[in-house]
């Protein structure tokens, strides 16, 4: 098989190097270009010592790259930046063949007004946005296969949507009673030198943030509303864990009338029966079950109230919640085995 020629824009951030970790294992991929405007002309191992032993191309500026020689571009950029850059790349007639897999929030909303509502400014490339497919691999596989532009879901949304979409599609739970209490490792904040991300500020501590107003609410509601064919509003609270990687979402919802907790479990077992990366577990799921991998592990429990359901969902925010799902989507687009580059056993302990 001819190698897939890959470029990564924003290669020197945490999702960029996670892509490199995964693609480096992929038998059909050639990492052709690493792009980082602020880090151009460096070797990546000057920024990340752990890469000293791996042969990687030097970082370049965007304008140094000929995208005609690239098959797929991964965007590992902050929101706003991503839309500007991909608008520019796609305005070039030589680049029309390019597949784009974007990890930012820029192309996740179907309605540009929703983008504006949650991100506070007008979208710069709404024509691209409207062509993009929301890249939740297991749910949108068929659309992803034919798409040119994939907007990979946020890390928190992936953890919430995978369990909730099948339940809403099958009308097993109440639409207006969904609470998502999520806890994420610190890598979700990226490699940004901010006081609040310092070791001493996060170690030994834990807190909620952006309570009731985190931007990921927007995309969660968009996808749940589509699944249920009704307007869904959720309560969502993210928290910051003193770990590097991983998300656990604890999801509270209510059984519809005449539905039993076993129906919930059966629904998820059926929905993900043929999926390699999403599993319904019999045990209490923990971060250590998934960190470093592309798995999303779900567990279904009844609450103490008669009709309450408590679902825990675990994934690695940098992998299934970002770069791993991006690679999975690339495998779908290029008709590779979906597991390529992603068959990793968790490191434990």
């Amino acid at each position: 098989m001819k190698k897939i020629r890959v470029a990564i824009i924003g290669a020197s951030g945490y999702t960029g190097i996670e892509l490199i970790r995964l693609l480096n294992n992929h038998p059909h991929v050639q990492i052709s270009q690493l792009i980082g405007n602020n880090t151009a002309d460096s070797q990546l191992d000057e920024l990340y010592n752990h890469l000293y032993n791996f042969n990687l191309p030097k970082l370049k500026k965007l304008e140094q790259v000929n995208f005609a020689e690239i098959d797929v571009v991964f965007g590992c950029l902050p929101h706003t930046v991503s839309q500007a850059i991909f608008k520019k790349i796609l305005s070039d007639q030589n680049n029309q063949h390019l597949k784009i897999i974007d990890l930012s929030a820029d192309f996740r909303f179907e309605n540009p007004l929703d983008y504006t509502r949650w991100y506070g400014h007008e979208h710069l490339a709404s024509e691209i946005q409207q062509k993009a497919i929301y890249g939740l691999s297991e749910i949108n596989r068929d659309k992803i296969r034919k798409a040119q532009i994939i907007a990979c879901p946020g890390c928190y949304p992936t953890s919430a949507l995978l369990p909730l979409i099948p339940l809403l599609k099958n009308q097993l739970i109440e639409n207006n009673n969904i609470i998502i209490d999520s806890k994420s490792g610190s890598s979700g904040a990226g490699r940004n030198a901010k006081t609040s991300n310092l070791f001493c500020e996060i170690n030994n501590s834990f807190k909620a943030y952006s309570i009731g107003k985190h931007r990921h609410i927007g995309e969660i509601q968009q996808e749940l509303s589509k699944a249920s064919d009704s307007e869904i509003k959720v309560d969502f609270t993210p928290h910051l864990l003193p770990v590097n990687r991983g998300i656990i979402s604890t999801i509270y919802t209510k059984l519809n009338l005449n539905i039993a907790i076993q129906d919930i479990k059966n629904c998820l077992l059926t929905a993900y029966n043929d999926e390699y990366f999403v599993k319904v577990a019999d045990h209490e799921v923990a971060l250590s079950d998934v960190v470093g991998t592309n798995f999303c592990l779900l567990a279904v429990n009844s609450g103490n109230n008669n009709n309450s359901v408590i679902i825990t969902s675990a994934l690695d925010n940098l992998c299934k919640g970002a770069s791993g799902q991006a690679v999975q989507n690339m495998n779908i687009i290029f008709d590779c085995d979906e597991k390529l580059g992603l068959e990793i056993m968790p490191i434990f302990p």
Copy 2:
């Protein structure tokens, strides 16, 4: 003032040494007896090197202690053990003067059947249980003052009850829609040599446990039902954080009709206006705001849904959630300034 003569049974566990840390600062306390049946005849600093520099009495067996010379006994024992020991102590006519401040679950239930329901066996000392006062200091101060036996609340319940009781008493929130998502540090499990408590198993990880069935549900429901004068059921999920100390509970509830989020905040501000240890914060509360102290910090937020309320509550599980509240209760009983031994600024970083 004559010194209060204190004995601690179970002094060599984590809540025992936390009591020692606090009482060692207390100007009116003399730590007279440390009791540990498995550790008798040791010095505590053989078990805990960090105590090497502090003059503490040698550990003794229960039968070596003359309780006639003691004013107050703290029980830092596992449930079941506590009821047996205090039954025996109180059966001695010479010990009727004793004040008992118990940190186990043994005396927290008013109805012995509730104890049996949640702990799975009959209570051995139900006559003591029925005299005991639930020692949530700010709520039950008047009863605590006159009581002989205090049952200190569990760590999770303290974090949930302090915000919820005033709201239910004032009928500001729906009774049947309370979800408590709690996250606790590892010291809550005590100093027990179990595989699941090993460093390698907890570090870098996070998980929910006892979902929908944790024993603390029982006492939370008992106290909330009393506050609201109705039967209340809650959903409660505890999680295990990779930190030593601290609890954050994220509490989801719904506003009653015509109640606004500001009413919630005002209610808590009023309820705790004169309290030193419970504060309503304007910022996002974090473990690092409370660890090592007897504070409980509350923050009130509206959710994304119209009538949803999200309250975060932070405390130190070993201090306000156990030994600190026990000392606060001792101060109430012995008519000391409630802050004695407990005026500690958090260590940060």
Copy 3:
């Protein structure tokens, strides 16, 4: 190529599951038998949830396994236990074809008296011990290739021997002035439910232990003495880091007369020029450069004194310091590419 049929005795410990992680990636290996006397009849994923998604054979008792159908046995057993079990296995005529790769200390000493000196009792299988080869892959590759029994080096010794052996062989440093200050993650203590290994006891802390008398001194001195053809004594202090994995050894030694620091660096560069797993770095080496991998990273620095040399050596105690080196030795014995199963990029962050 015909698959190598592997059995692991002691599969349910940390080095056992690390072997499984690595061998699961190995194209020429079939994990045929997992043996755990205390855990027999369990599935490994009942003991380690993170293995839920991987098809592994059920754990068996030793006597349930027919070693005639096995090519290589890995021993992941405590010292003393290992020698008894392998003595028994090798006493069976049907098992003479077996290759044995042992991770315990039992076969590391050439002189049974050295074993007795450091482990405090007589060796039970000194005839096996005398046939065993010390499995420091890069140093003893030729002997390993022909050996039946490999005694994999300890984790600390591997980190110290890889830099020191070439320097002593080439007479670049003083023989009588070697200090090894090592810091290891907590997984080195294994999955043993001991108070001192609890999360709360290790998190936020750090300490030296077994100062001046740790058993690994014995094998370090044995191998350095052979390399230098003289009797070498070292000072060695192990410390316990609040991390799961990884060792950094900081090694202090003195230049021989007329030797410059660049000679030290050149010697190591030459010695490991053709090695994939041992590298001399230009940067300060960190645990995060090597955790999860089979690399050993070395850095050479001059001290503040004229002739002092400070070498830092980093590896993953469970991988290059145990199971990874064991797989590397299997690759040598079975004439596989030495990198098979071991080409892993570190996970970062």
Copy 4:
């Protein structure tokens, strides 16, 4: 007793808030002025939520403070900045009464050329520097008592000097064979938003830095040379631990002829017999024995070589290594009980 009026310059850094934690406990201190040029007009609890419940003066600019109304100024400033500011303050005739306790490196060197050698530029206030006393409390108590300007020792030097000075003074160890291998928590780097201090970069990792050339070598050598009356050179390697606080230094040295290990222990026991804050322990010292306190714990061990000595020294870098020793020096100067503000039991776990 009249309250000591305290000003803290650089109050919003980690050593600043540690001073506040300690002074807030001090019965004879009034925290009169908090100074922070970049943070002026803020309340400290806007920068540190954990201070929300404590009444502290608003932060001011230097020029807003009348030092005539202050008794003692603590300098919590970066080196270079400190010398400029104190030069200015002391140039005012109204400020000649001021006691100055500086935590930077600016006044630690007796010889201005040594400052230049280690800090790379000329000293701006060498006339002040020459009047300053090196504030190692137990060693220089008499000089501190009469001094106007105290240069508090660095955190690493404090951990090394306390054990080594008595041994050198008594000629028990070789002068030319001192190796100090130190490991420090991350708070030593201050609250600076640098990539290398991010949680994800430090958690799970460990590394040596500034090998053979760290600036603290200068002051260690100055003080050891004075103690031994000879020129002493040491090898010193600092390492970065994934903990917030604490230093362990493992010190390797050699016994002089006819000296036994017990002589070493006796020497330290005698030297610190009457000291509250420096103790010789019988157990392996750990960070958790000292974190949060002003103690320095020492342990003496023989090595594996005949005449080698291995001393471990543990302290809290922000407390005995910085702000705690500063308060201790203030107590000495103002003739208070040296323990005031500093009688703190470690929090454990």
